[in-house]
Symmetry: C3
Subunit: 315 residues, 3 copies
Amino acid sequence: MRHFIEPNSFSLEEQLALLDLADRMEADPAPYAHLCDGRILATLFYEPSTRTRLSFESAMLRLGGKTLGFAGAQLSSASKGETVEDTARVVSNYADVIAMRHPKEGAPLRASLSARVPVINAGDGGHAHPSQTMIDLMTIRQRKGRLDHLTIGFCGDLKFGRTVHSLTAALSQFEGNRFVFISPEDLRLPQYVKNESLEPTHQIYKETADLEAELPHLDVLYMTRIQQERFFNEEEYLRLKGCYQLDEALLQKAPQDMPVLHPLPRIDEIKKDVDDDPRAAYFDQVHNGVYIRMAIILALLDIPDPVTGKKVLEA
Amino acid sequence: MRHFIEPNSFSLEEQLALLDLADRMEADPAPYAHLCDGRILATLFYEPSTRTRLSFESAMLRLGGKTLGFAGAQLSSASKGETVEDTARVVSNYADVIAMRHPKEGAPLRASLSARVPVINAGDGGHAHPSQTMIDLMTIRQRKGRLDHLTIGFCGDLKFGRTVHSLTAALSQFEGNRFVFISPEDLRLPQYVKNESLEPTHQIYKETADLEAELPHLDVLYMTRIQQERFFNEEEYLRLKGCYQLDEALLQKAPQDMPVLHPLPRIDEIKKDVDDDPRAAYFDQVHNGVYIRMAIILALLDIPDPVTGKKVLEA
Amino acid sequence: MRHFIEPNSFSLEEQLALLDLADRMEADPAPYAHLCDGRILATLFYEPSTRTRLSFESAMLRLGGKTLGFAGAQLSSASKGETVEDTARVVSNYADVIAMRHPKEGAPLRASLSARVPVINAGDGGHAHPSQTMIDLMTIRQRKGRLDHLTIGFCGDLKFGRTVHSLTAALSQFEGNRFVFISPEDLRLPQYVKNESLEPTHQIYKETADLEAELPHLDVLYMTRIQQERFFNEEEYLRLKGCYQLDEALLQKAPQDMPVLHPLPRIDEIKKDVDDDPRAAYFDQVHNGVYIRMAIILALLDIPDPVTGKKVLEA
């Protein structure tokens, strides 16, 4: 039995097979509509995350399956002091696969050790949110036709932005990519991400505070929200929150085929006038999210693609 | 693509077609049990309203569809500062139709402007709750056989009572109705409702505080709850909350065929001894609610009635 | 129409038929997978209880049915002052069967008086949690092959432990059982449980504080959690919470075929090293819980077992 706790829970080959399956389902979902008839997904969300929870639930429903779960720790048995391990083992009796969101890093991993069914990490604190990373890869590949030899700009909160860390690691698996990290001084990429993801494979990267100067040279721009909930200090948040604002005027400096990604929700770092620009790819990400999660569920339940006969995961 | 934001989002002809469809489904639900197989309803409730949410969910389930959503703002991404427009556009990827409840007037309308799927207003602050209005019309028509030439008494909180305002507007579309507004001085029908709904079509109406005197002359009585949550002042609420209490003794003054409606929940404005009186129609309203919501979903998804071949909405 | 408010809502014969049905479904669930197609279960949980709610929902989903409901009073209309009676009557229009959890004793009984569909008590304060009792019986019978002539040790919080009171009553229906109540002085079995369950049928029982001394003589051990939420006094809770801790070393004193039951969640009254001992039966209970709840739903909906043709409830 396999789990999906971080992107490299799957080999690179498996990750690409997952993207292929998601692409096929997006192109024609009909053959997949009943693959999970009679199966149940449990969404155990120890903190609210509407977007992610509903995306997983929609994925399971679109495969013919059903869902149950909870959407906040106050609704769970956590308040009675139960460990995540016990909860996972218990819920293994109620569902065929578990998607867990937890404010504490490592909780989904701990859950997977006692669960009797596959566990998907749907975000654990500052650690990982691997389905989001797969969505980002799928969207970049759709827009650029490849995942290598790209110059990718990451802009905004690179310190707390978990999706940035994971996507950096994921793109480091491919050849010839160049990373441009654009942030205020106080929100730069942490040293450990450089040590773990960039240095070992000698990635080419630069750090800067100037979005405008970099725009003309990017193949992909990945914007992020300054996340109020990560700041201890309100004043600090207020000082930094409006530091980058991409609007249609600024976007004129960028190449015509440079997609703009954002994991959403956004506040004001991307203005609404960008939404109608063909480069806006952040609603594509939401759309792709359902297919990625369908693919993850099929992979972990070891259900082959009825069209190709192939499974995502190797034996 | 059409939305259902207020009763006159649908033409009068469409409203009547909706009532007809609801009546047919109530009489024989079997032919409709699989019309929404594979479809998903999202219930986005930014404030709790169990009755309305469960009614919409039951409607979708009884059509063969599935549901997902949230039941309170603390469970949503609203806490991260996302706009209703972005949420609606995002959720359009997860569901085929959205029912939205929001404490702020106009939120469902704003959602409908960015949504890629139909949006149903499931109540927005003091503004509208159009499915409730359709339920009221369906129930009156079932009981009285018509929606015109009726004397309708509205009793209780006519100031904040959104359902009263909407039903007044809806009944003003029909000929020969007479409106009797029964309330304490402080909870009278707002001037703007008179200006918008009663004056333009020269409706006949009167205002009074005396329920008992009016009872013998009414064709329909619509009771409402004094809603604590609308008062800023606890003292004010306590003074007014018990101002009308309909019990079986008082009901003896009313005609034998005068249905008593109430949008529920009730506190003590209708005593339990009325429940067994054949004139009690408020549980009929709950029952009809599921069929009205089934009809709204079918209308917006543009699914024809398999029995008659007709669609509710004109092209 | 029947309800399941406490274990003896069903006759002893019916209880045994329920256990038989649950056993058959556990052995082979396939013939039961579509018995509730098109049916809806409402889970009305006025206090959170993830385990119980998800178990009921999983049961209904595994029968082919669907679910709706709420998972905490703050999400319900209770905050608008609606009575449980009105809510139950309203929800009867949305669902075919109701499972209700409520902090107040007697609430599910009151609900059943106005409901138009069967009501299952999913726990009401200190009163009853009858599906848990059925789970306990099923698990004991699976492990020991019988429900009579057993020496059962109950250990921990016997004062507030609702499951202990119910299981004591249930086992008193069978011949030749002996009860050993193991607790600190302050958490002894209440006198009313003795009066109601033990005295009328002259059951043999003893009370002690010494778990270790009793272990070698038990056929079954039922452990319970010291429930913080039942204490008014934090200090009192802290003094008592660690009073019994069963670990693998202590378990060596017990017979090799003495199952250890616990209604879960546990804190530290059973150590993790016991989990791998074949005597650990508490995860069996969770597993059995889904089948018991499937059986209760089928019983109340009066759906016969397609394999045997038998119904659980007598006409």
